[in-house]
């Protein structure tokens, strides 16, 4: 038993080293497949991040009537937090709103002058509400408009922002859905290409496989070395693809961060090292061995 195992491994290694031209082609295609699948994986993460960044920028504000006291608003805030869709809530007092305004428009003398002329703080206290899903802003706004504190509320500015929120919602869900379809198509395509390359490589050994069977080798004894050979090709492809991914992430990460804030692929690479390795190992070695197995099956029937 042990001697057979040893021979299968030796023979697999020998096949690998003697058919370098063929294995080179296989490895090349495998590397490409692994890279395609890894980048799709990263792209998915990238779009999620992008969507999150955009969604972060959207909120609705609830403005309170002039006469509402701060305690009242804090109480309302505590109530709103209980709504499950609410992710984040921020209280902006009258004074804070004024300061924000001055801060923003201090270089605009006309606005500053008119504010001075007014002689009082024209701003209303407000609560800024962020939802975890853009689709839920409407619901939150409805809850507020029909709640017990609707008398203290001056207005909810959801309706002003409604078109933007709706469009954003449509866009992100489109991105998610089309991304999934795109990924599935590309993954299938690249797996088929890799599978076919390995199948063609093994086709060259058709007669050899049949001769092995005719001199009395069992199926596993014939198959074994090919699976080992596939495994070695897979391992080399995974190593190469991993190095390529690492270098791309390392050199591109900081540059990308300048373009898209919060999106450093090198950090992402470090965070998801485990899943990336698993994905690449699964694609490279799994695909190579599985394809070899299927490709040989046909020629063993003798």
């Amino acid at each position: 038993m042990f001697i057979s195992f040893k021979r299968i491994f030796q023979s697999g290694w020998l096949n690998f080293s003697r058919n370098s031209g063929l294995t080179f082609a296989t490895i090349f295609i495998l590397i490409l497949t692994i890279l395609v699948i890894t980048s799709l994986f990263a792209l998915k993460k990238g779009t999620n991040l992008l969507i999150a960044v955009v969604e972060e920028k959207v909120d609705i504000s609830v403005y309170f009537k002039e006469e509402s006291s701060e305690e009242e608003i804090v109480k309302i805030q505590q109530e709103i937090v209980k709504i499950p869709q609410v992710k984040n809530i921020e209280y902006i007092s009258k004074e804070k709103a004024l300061q924000n305004f001055i801060q923003k428009h201090k270089d605009d003398p006309t606005l500053m002058e008119s504010l001075e002329e007014l002689g009082r703080n024209p701003f209303l206290a407000s609560l800024n509400i962020q939802s975890s899903e853009p689709s839920q802003y409407k619901e939150i706004s409805d809850i507020l408009e029909n709640s017990q504190f609707k008398n203290s509320i001056e207005k909810v500015d959801y309706y002003q922002k409604e078109p933007i929120i709706d469009r954003l919602f449509a866009f992100t869900s489109f991105l998610n859905r089309s991304g999934l379809v795109f990924t599935l198509v590309l993954v299938t395509l690249s797996i088929l290409v890799a599978f076919n390359t390995i199948r063609l490589a093994i086709l060259n050994f058709k007669t050899e496989i049949q001769v092995m069977k005719l001199v009395g080798a069992s199926n596993w004894y014939v198959r074994g070395p090919f699976l080992v050979q596939g495994g070695i090709s897979g391992l080399i492809s995974v190593s190469a693809a991993f190095l390529i991914t690492f270098s791309i992430a390392y050199f591109l990460g900081p540059k990308m961060e300048i373009l898209f804030t919060g999106l450093n692929i090198f950090n992402y690479f470090k965070e998801s090292l485990g899943s990336i390795l698993l994905l690449q190992f699964g694609t490279g070695i799994g695909l190579a061995i599985f394809s070899s197995f299927i490709a040989i099956r046909k020629y063993l029937k003798i």
Binding site: I3, E208, V211, M212, L214, V215, G216, A217
Partner: protein, 231 residues
């Protein structure tokens, strides 16, 4: 030891050319340690007969027995075991192109689980016997036809099979090498191995004077103890 009972083999190939009857109701018996020549023109069914015996093809009708076991009922799992009892010398050599002569021969031993010591001990002997000692580490493509044929003989012999099937082993060789191969087969027979040799070579038949089964168009037309070449 080998029994063919009313064996018919029909190849259903192209719908237009129709079915080809390779063997038609063939029956014979071969005893242990016999030397039998299967004689026939090319296309008479000689190769089919040998393929049926090692299970490379299945008979359309009839039964084939090897050592009392029916070959066509052998499960795919047990074919390797059957094939290890039989050494085949193929007309087209069927050497593994990516392995050297030594590795080709070693492969036939490895599949039966021989130890490395046995392999190291036996291969030089068999290479000596077939006269290929100096070619041990060459690849098949570097050998001449006669050398390739001797390499297949060495591979067929190495695991000491009880039967040697030689399918036109001299078909691609010049008369000088043909004599070599025939002498080799006679030597193997003297060691106590059953030999089944298929040929269409008149010289061989007349020289050997062995039992000869003559095939024509898939039928056995003659089965004589001391064969002569009549076709």
């Amino acid at each position: 030891m080998i029994v063919f009972q009313n064996v018919t083999k029909i190849y259903r190939s192209h719908p237009e050319t129709g079915a080809i009857v390779a063997l038609d109701n063939v029956s014979f018996k071969i005893k242990e340690k016999e030397f039998v020549v299967i004689l026939g023109r090319s296309g008479a069914g000689k190769t089919t007969l040998l393929k049926l015996l090692i299970g490379e093809e299945k008979p359309t009708r009839g039964r084939i027995f090897f050592d009392g076991k029916e070959v066509s009922k052998t499960s795919p799992k047990d074919f390797p075991i059957l094939r290890r009892e039989i050494g085949v010398i193929f007309q087209d050599y069927k050497l593994l192109p990516s392995k050297t002569v030594y590795e080709n021969i070693a492969y036939a031993m490895e599949v039966i689980g021989a130890s490395p010591e046995e392999i190291e001990k036996d291969i030089p002997k068999v290479l000596e016997l077939v006269g290929l000692a100096e070619r041990a580490f060459n690849f098949p493509e570097e050998l001449s036809g006669g050398e390739k044929q001797r390499a297949t003989i060495a591979r067929a012999l190495i695991h000491r099979p009880r039967v040697i099937l030689a399918d036109e082993p001299t078909g691609n060789l010049d008369p000088y090498h043909t004599q070599d191969i025939i002498h080799l087969l006679e030597k193997i027979h003297e060691f106590g191995t059953t030999v089944v040799l298929s040929t269409h070579d008149k010289e061989i038949i007349n020289q050997l004077e062995r039992r000869t089964i003559t095939l024509e168009k898939g039928k056995v037309i003659r089965d004589e103890e001391k064969g002569s070449f009549i076709l």
